[in-house]
Point group: C2
Chain length 263, copies 2
């Protein structure tokens, strides 16, 4: 079995923003689909694993782009596994134009395998006799030339921006707020002008805990001191907390952190 | 050229709700994609028309389902034109399982062609020498066995449910609130319990005017007197108004009406 899976899609009209470029959340969705097909075709899909009481959990995703695909473009996503540790595996992505081969960018992700009964991470190397190691392509064999995931460190100066309720459309089959919806909600924090005058150069997100339908989400944000030529922050760190303001635990619980870098 | 276009998709994991069934908004998106491919392949696509300063505008969409496609199912959408009048055309859809052929349901839609310079509807029969008539399949030739679009009539007893701000992710390439996002926001009005205990049997939506990024949307709702066996309303009429509460025009402007029928 090939170690690389190629997944193709067309940028559909309802999947582009007001600049005519693919929504980052939709790109994230396509990357997760590519990952799903890669795993499925190698006997490691959620459909196989659920029967064995295991499921993949996305822990981190970092996407770095020199260009965002535009409406009607045909896009190919290559995905492969860069490394496997006991409790985590690194999966990378290459995103290119299917017609002329130009590269839009790359992405990195980190996944854990959870035992659905105990909610504890499982030993990836022990499952299926270490079969997962058959699919590894090291960084020498298949480079992914973008930085690894960074850390978000909010200072006391970080500002609480918004609190939103969560609804039916926010949750996935497990009743958890959908990974892609967090990306949408984060990008919705920025005003029209930011999206008009800048594009997302790099986006990092770390999923730390689950939120459920109806739990309110609070967005805390800290723009970088570094500025772009027009005076906007070069990047913004974001933390999402749930159930902020309850009497017994006023700070709530941190569930997602993200870092948006603008060009 | 065949009068029917068939468009296929797989129900992806991030496109299903907490019951494991396709989100209605995502189904709507697939129907619009099917319509886009049908028009494009017959020289009537937005990509051709924009160059000639015309664009399609969706006026009404009604979807009626005996079953909603579930995760990983392969779905085929057939779409065809049932009739063409001077200012409107009726386009229908059949939605079926690609593997066993069982029919999930049907949809009806009404479209106008707008001159992008004047924003006025154009005479469909005059464009391209009446070429659109070559693609009509009458209801005798290809039946669409669901009712035509109904009318929403709110009484003075209708209740204002919620007002939401609109953000970056809500708008399409024209800067208008995206047709599919209205469907999401409408279904987000209903509590978890309604979605848990009932499925959408029929959904009607009429797009009457545009809203733009940043314009607040107010949702007004009126449940039917007719009840389901568990006491929930059999259907709910909804109206979306924009810019409600401004001093010079407190009632705002009606932009969308919808009617959700539960089973």
């Amino acid at each position: 079995m090939e170690k690389i899976e190629t997944y193709s899609f067309r940028v559909e009209p309802f999947h582009v923003d007001f600049t005519g470029h693919l929504f980052l959340g939709v790109l994230g969705n396509h990357l997760l689909n590519a990952a799903g097909h890669h795993s499925h075709n190698r006997g490691w899909g959620i459909d196989h694993l659920n029967q064995a009481h295991y499921t993949w959990v996305l822990s981190r995703l970092s996407i770095e782009l020199t260009e965002m695909p535009a409406q009607y473009e045909h896009v190919e996503v290559e995905t492969w596994v860069e490394s496997v540790m006991k409790l985590f595996t690194e999966r990378n992505f290459l995103i290119r134009n299917a017609d002329d081969g130009r590269i839009y960018g790359y992405a990195r992700s980190i996944w854990a395998m959870i035992d659905t009964a105990t909610r504890q991470p499982s030993d990836l190397l022990a499952l299926k006799g270490g079969d997962i190691l058959n699919y590894v392509l090291t960084s020498e064999e298949k480079p992914c030339p973008i930085a690894k995931h960074g850390r978000v460190r909010l200072s006391p100066a970080a500002q609480q921006l918004a609190t939103i309720d969560t609804h039916y459309s926010d949750v996935d089959i497990n009743g958890h707020i959908n990974s892609v919806k967090y990306i949408e909600h984060i990008l919705d924090l920025f005003p029209r002008q930011t999206h008009e005058q800048h594009r997302i150069r790099r986006f990092e997100i770390a999923y730390k805990a689950e939120a459920f339908l109806g739990e309110p989400l609070t967005f805390i944000s800290e723009p970088s001191a570094e500025l772009l030529p027009d005076g906007e922050a070069a990047s913004t760190q974001i933390e999402i907390r749930k159930n902020v303001g309850l009497a017994d635990k006023p700070a709530g619980e941190s569930i997602v952190t993200a870092h948006v870098f603008w060009a």
